[in-house]
Subunit: 334 residues, 2 copies
């Protein structure tokens, strides 16, 4: 293992320190935690707080999406490990402006349990908290750390939709209604070319042969549904879009947002080629693509591969939310 780090035990704390010192205009660290809150407090006033978090190793998720129009706060757990309830609760308190706090949770058993305990702590203090659990990964049912489906890159669309709504004054109940309506319309599936190496472990969580790929791998290296020999980008698209088409049962004329997400070690060049092939196939199928993003949004340390997220825009206001202005480290404005 070669990683740019000092002691692997301190890698998350040092990363968080690097983030807040590099980007003080966006994020501040909450004392004695690895939780981050928006620096521009005035942009939070009078609004429902929106928080997320989870194990680290998925950067820029989640802290890179803190800012006006997106998250109020985010909690960075140890690598691939849920943050503790007290750290999540610190984020809840920092995000609360008297209007309550909405939590976006990725569907991993540890996260679900700890965010739920943090909610209980908030209840005791009279802070109203609601949440959504994102389970957008259609690759497999149940997984190493999950009951049901895993929460992956589609979570970023949830951040964006709810962040825009919260910024425009949506109430806690309105955010919950919106989140529930959006959730079944976001679906993701990935292909991995290599495993990720957790710093404290020192070797990849799984290995693939030099000419092998695996479909459906999770963002912590959870097993996918099939390995096979490496194939051209167009064929990978055919496989992954085939699964998404079946899951959505989409038709010509349906309208989607599309996210091609790099897993960490895959160059943008390859991600753009993949997006081209996605757009070609969707065009052939008569699908209307109204919004696109390409880049490293929900990574898995140094894993090579991409995930593909489709978000069915059944409500026109959702496209407005996707295009709503933000100021964050990782989501560009336009």
């Amino acid at each position: 293992m070669k990683k740019i780090m000092n002691d692997p035990k301190n890698i998350v704390a040092e990363m968080v320190e690097g983030m807040v010192r590099a980007y003080p205009q966006f994020v501040e660290r909450l004392p004695e935690t690895e939780a981050l809150v928006r620096s521009d407090k005035s942009s939070m006033t009078g609004k429902v707080g929106l928080i997320s978090g989870g194990g680290s190793g998925h950067e820029p998720t989640h802290a890179g999406f803190i800012g006006e129009g997106m998250l109020s706060a985010a909690v960075c757990g140890q690598v691939f490990t849920s943050p503790t309830p007290d750290q999540i609760y610190a984020a809840i308190k920092a995000a609360d402006q008297g209007k309550g706090v909405f939590m976006v949770i990725k569907n991993y058993s540890g996260d679900v349990m700890n965010f739920d305990m943090a909610k209980d702590m908030a209840d005791l203090d009279g802070i109203e908290v609601k949440s959504i659990t994102v389970d957008d990964d259609i690759a497999v049912e149940n997984s190493t750390f999950t009951q049901g489906r895993r929460g992956v890159a589609g979570t970023i669309f949830m951040h964006k939709i709810l962040g825009a709504a919260a910024d425009q004054g949506a109430s806690l109940t309105e955010l919950e209604t919106l989140a529930k309506k959006v959730l079944p319309n976001i679906k993701t599936i990935a292909v991995a070319l290599s495993g990720a190496t957790v710093p404290e472990v020192g070797k990849p969580g799984f290995t693939l042969a030099d000419d092998e790929l695996e479909y459906g791998v999770g963002i912590h290296g959870e097993p996918g549904y099939r390995k096979e020999k490496m194939r051209p980008s167009k064929d990978l698209v055919k496989e992954l879009l085939g699964k998404l088409k079946a899951a959505f049962n989409y038709q010509a004329g349906d309208k989607f947002a599309v996210l091609v997400n790099g897993m960490g070690a895959t160059p943008l060049m390859e991600q753009f080629v993949f997006m081209r092939d996605v757009l070609n196939q969707l065009k052939d199928e008569g699908v209307n693509v109204a919004f696109t993003k390409v880049g490293n949004y929900m990574t898995s340390l140094d894993m090579a591969g991409v995930s593909l997220t489709l978000f069915k825009l059944t409500d026109d206001s959702w496209l407005d939310n996707l295009n709503y202005p933000v100021n964050t480290i990782a989501w560009t404005q336009k």
Copy 2:
């Protein structure tokens, strides 16, 4: 080699197609070329055009920096290969609004020659063209493809400074004066943990042992100045900042912008740890850091490693230029 692509011969054309179809609000393709121009033409009116380009494989450089307040156009050569003069000339013509065009060239022999030929073509057509050749890499004098020093990640600061000035109405001559003043104040040095694999070649340009790193490697895998066993982040910072300190002869109280740039396969987590260590050492040395960026800006395909750029802010207006609003794919607003 495992890459998400179709035919390696078409990888740049397909990447460019993916880019313009994913981000039509930012970039348009010039017909029959791999040159891209800003979509928002109205933001270019009455201003000097600013273009850049070079071999592909460094994404988001350069096309990711096209947009209001930054580049007018960019030319994507084949992987690690200079774009042809006719493609560069197409970008010049598209960028020209009657006020002339300024070219930012990275110091590689092929680029210098081809951008110069494109300037000659523009001269014949009465388009006034000036340029700067960026040679910020202090690692070595002369290199595989270079007379003098190589142009690397510091080029992005040049884009940003000149882009802000052009947007505020600077003349062609004013841009040239500014570029010449800025140039000696931008210096970069890198450390590589692995080589990059060019798609048409199929194997890494160089290899390092499992516990080995190399200081001073170029963005095309050009040799650096020393290999040694892997060391903690703090020690890498000590080595690289030591070289930069000697090159600048910087003193306590000097003011800098700092860019920590991922080479392609290095996770943000490691980049933030590295930035933390850079900021710690600069603080110990009494250096004033006024601006920071962390991320994959000038990559080298799937190379693992980081580069460190210091930009000495000897003129206060340069900090304003760094903070000047932009709308691009890859440079976030604030």
